[in-house]
Amino acid sequence: MSYHFGRGKSKWIPYLMLLPGLLFYFLIALGPSMATAVYSFTDATGIKGAPIRWIGLDNYREFLFMGRASVDNLAALQRTLIFCAAVTLIQFTMGLIVALLVNQKLRGTNIFRTLYFMPVILGVVIQGLMWSLFLYPLGGPAAKLLSLLGMRSEFLGGQPAEAFAWVIFIQIWANMGTTMMIFIAGLQTIPSEMYEAARIDGANSWQVFRNVTWPLLTPSVNTNLLLNIIGSLQAWQLFLVLVGYRNGTQVLGYLIYATGFGQTSGSVSSSFRQGYAAAASIILFLLVLVIGMSVQYILQRREARILG
């Protein structure tokens, strides 16, 4: 039996201390998000004093079934899934490998760690600025490198598929640092005696990883997988700063932002369509929820099996 802090009156203390965090969460995150859900059934504009009408499922119908726009929306949805799969797979693997490398007793690992984490510190806007300069097709460093090999590329301005691939690459580049840090934090919790014991038993590096590191890293594996999946499903800011709203590259998150704030093209003024944007974000929410919760369920069962 696990021990419960406090007896009698004081057994409520854990609840009491938990309360502020929970209240803030309801007030600032859950409450407004639920309001978004309500908005999605209306034609709300978000303007004070403007009438709000209940229009049922019209927004959802428009997003999913109306004309060609819905076909484009579903294409964006498919692209979102591709983006998620590619980013998660590569970022997770690279983050793990790099964490293992910099967690060794080597000189200079601090420098590497800081360097790899740097994009996270800089934020999306600066990441975009840096890569736009680096990938500048007329005389930028990457273009020069390619021309040495007798090749050329328009990089972010190339064909949509190529631009999309570059955004995947930069997304991984930008966020691998977080994955790495979480893995490092996880690696730090593994007591060194465990490694020593395994070594004494004659295990080679791979076996040590397989039988000690990997199972004991389970909590970090779970956190990272979940964060990578959710993060990449919701990602859109890099698309904004790197390629803009271009046909053939949009993901769902960007689509929502662009319709909600009317930035689908250069200089056209558009309407406030909070209701419609809300419906689109609820659709994304449901998608992320279903995928995320299934992954979470699988991971938790796996964790229970491994860590008991």
């Binding site: 504009t45 978000g46 303007i47 004070k48 004093g49 403007a50 428009e62 109306m66 004309g67 060609r68 726009a69 819905s70 076909v71 484009d72 736009s132 990938l135 500048y136 097709p137 007329l138 050329r152 328009e154 990089f155 972010l156 301005g157 190339g158 064909q159 949509p160 390629v243 803009g244 709203y245 271009r246 046909n247 053939g248 704030f261 009317g262 930035q263 093209s265 250069g266 200089s267 056209v268 003024s269 558009s270 309407s271 406030f272 369509r273």
Partner: protein, 445 residues
């Protein structure tokens, strides 16, 4: 983390909360400023503008002078990015936290022949009663009547004074390269095409543009849309009621030319150039032409002050007479919040701004094509613009609202063509564009 560090942090928090709590009355105080009924009362005038550096610099000087003249008024001007302007206008109007606001020229108004479209945000703001009716104000007389009507009125009432126009449909050209290669400045499409061939034969790239952002390619080809459909408002109506199609014979000619423009005229690599970088690329002297908006002139001058360039209407038509139009839009304007407690001060502010001398100084600083008939555009580009200014037309996309359900290709954009997009057959593309539009028209029937 040590205990010490935590107690230090908690101290900081306590300090932060204390500080915030103490300063909050001032914040709420400024929101509920008492109405300045008498002229002598202290007033803080809250002004919102979008970020356009020369304009902001001008406004700072103007505010200084305004405050000196009216010592009871303090101007509190805040600046936001153009992309955030509509969102911030909306939130600040909701919070009654604004007196005078910057608003882009009224465009994309819902027309009777459009079905199931949402009103653009300026209409939504007016309908919600958030913008003050300026009809009958003295200072309106200083402005061009058409500008007031086209860019600042709704249902016969005036809600905004518009401060200037910009042009999309011009081409900047490198005078030295034209002379060296003995090429005359083109006035028709065949001349333009021939000029490009000559330049390319001499190993000079013909045109550059910020292809990476997509829209500069579309805006650069505006002259092509304009040459086919000089009456842009009629074009929009025709598209909505089906009398004009993006795949009819006339449009097909436009698409064919657009492909030449995107594929043959643009320099190799243009699809990777950012919108910001294009003026610099042109000013470097390496490229003969740069199709783009009048707003690029200051950037070209900043990059290379000694560089000699000219600005001509994009010759999209085979007949020279059809290539003497400017297509563009109304840029920023002023509006007053209807809930302002500082109505008199706000009106006074616009009145002073509209004074012809102040307005001229504004135009000189910002480089807009003036909306006050007495003002002149004195910049280098102004001289090139002037001859055709009588033929200024508001561009198609300032009228256009896509029907709900229309696909993402339902626009006349040259950027659909390779290398900017994926298409390389004008006929196929024209059918795709019309199909995407038709899907929307059918959906809202």
């Amino acid at each position: 983390m040590s205990k010490k560090m935590f107690s230090f942090l908690s101290l900081l928090v306590a300090f932060a909360i204390l500080l915030a709590a103490c300063s909050s009355p001032a914040a709420t105080g400024s929101q509920t400023e008492p109405a300045a009924a008498a002229g002598g009362d202290k007033v803080t005038l809250r002004v919102l503008v979008h970020q356009n550096p020369p304009m902001v610099a001008f406004m700072e000087t103007f505010n200084q002078k305004f405050q000196e003249k009216h010592p009871n008024i303090t101007v509190d001007m805040s600046v936001v990015n153009a992309n955030d302007l509509s969102t911030v206008s909306q939130t600040r109007l909701s919070a009654n936290d604004i007196d005078v606001l910057d608003i882009f020229g009224f465009a994309n108004g819902a027309q009777p022949y459009m079905k199931m479209v949402d009103s653009p945000n300026w209409q939504q703001l007016i309908e919600a009663g958030l913008l003050m009716d300026l009809t009958g104000q003295d200072f309106l007389k200083n402005y061009d009547e058409n500008a007031i009507k086209d860019a600042g009125s709704y249902n016969g009432k005036v809600y905004s004074i518009n401060l200037g126009r910009v042009i999309y449909s011009g081409i900047y050209y490198n005078k030295q390269l034209f002379e060296e290669n003995k090429i005359a400045v083109p006035t028709t499409w065949p001349e333009l095409a021939a000029a490009c061939e000559t330049f390319k034969a001499n190993n000079i790239p013909c045109m550059t543009a910020g292809g990476k952002d997509g829209w500069p390619i579309f805006v650069g080809a505006y002259g092509l849309i304009g040459a086919m459909y000089p009456d842009q408002a009629a074009l929009v109506e025709g598209l909505w009621n089906g009398t004009i199609k993006w795949n009819d014979a006339k449009s097909l000619e436009m698409w064919t030319k657009m492909q030449v423009y995107a594929r043959d005229m643009m320099e190799e690599g243009a699809s990777g150039i950012a919108g910001d970088a294009a003026p610099g690329r042109f000013a470097s002297g390496a490229v003969a032409m740069f199709p783009g908006g009048s707003w690029y002139a200051p950037a070209i001058e900043a990059a290379q002050p000694a560089f000699d360039w000219g600005y001509i209407p994009f010759p999209g038509s085979d007949t020279a007479a059809d290539n003497q139009y400017w297509f563009g839009k109304y840029d920023q304007g002023w509006a007053i919040a209807s809930n302002t407690p500082n109505k008199d001060a706000s009106v006074l502010y616009l009145k002073e701004f509209s004074d012809p001398a102040n307005y001229q100084a504004f135009v000189d600083a910002v480089g807009f094509i003036p909306t006050q008939p007495t003002a002149k555009l004195n910049t280098k580009i102004g001289a090139d613009i002037a001859p055709f200014l009588g033929n200024f037309r508001v561009g198609y996309e300032q009228y256009w609202i896509a029907p709900k359900g229309a696909g993402q290709f339902a626009n006349p954009w040259a950027s659909y063509f390779k290398p900017f997009g994926t298409d390389d057959d004008p006929k196929v593309l024209a059918d795709k564009v019309q199909a995407d539009l038709q899907a929307g028209l059918d959906a809202v029937k």
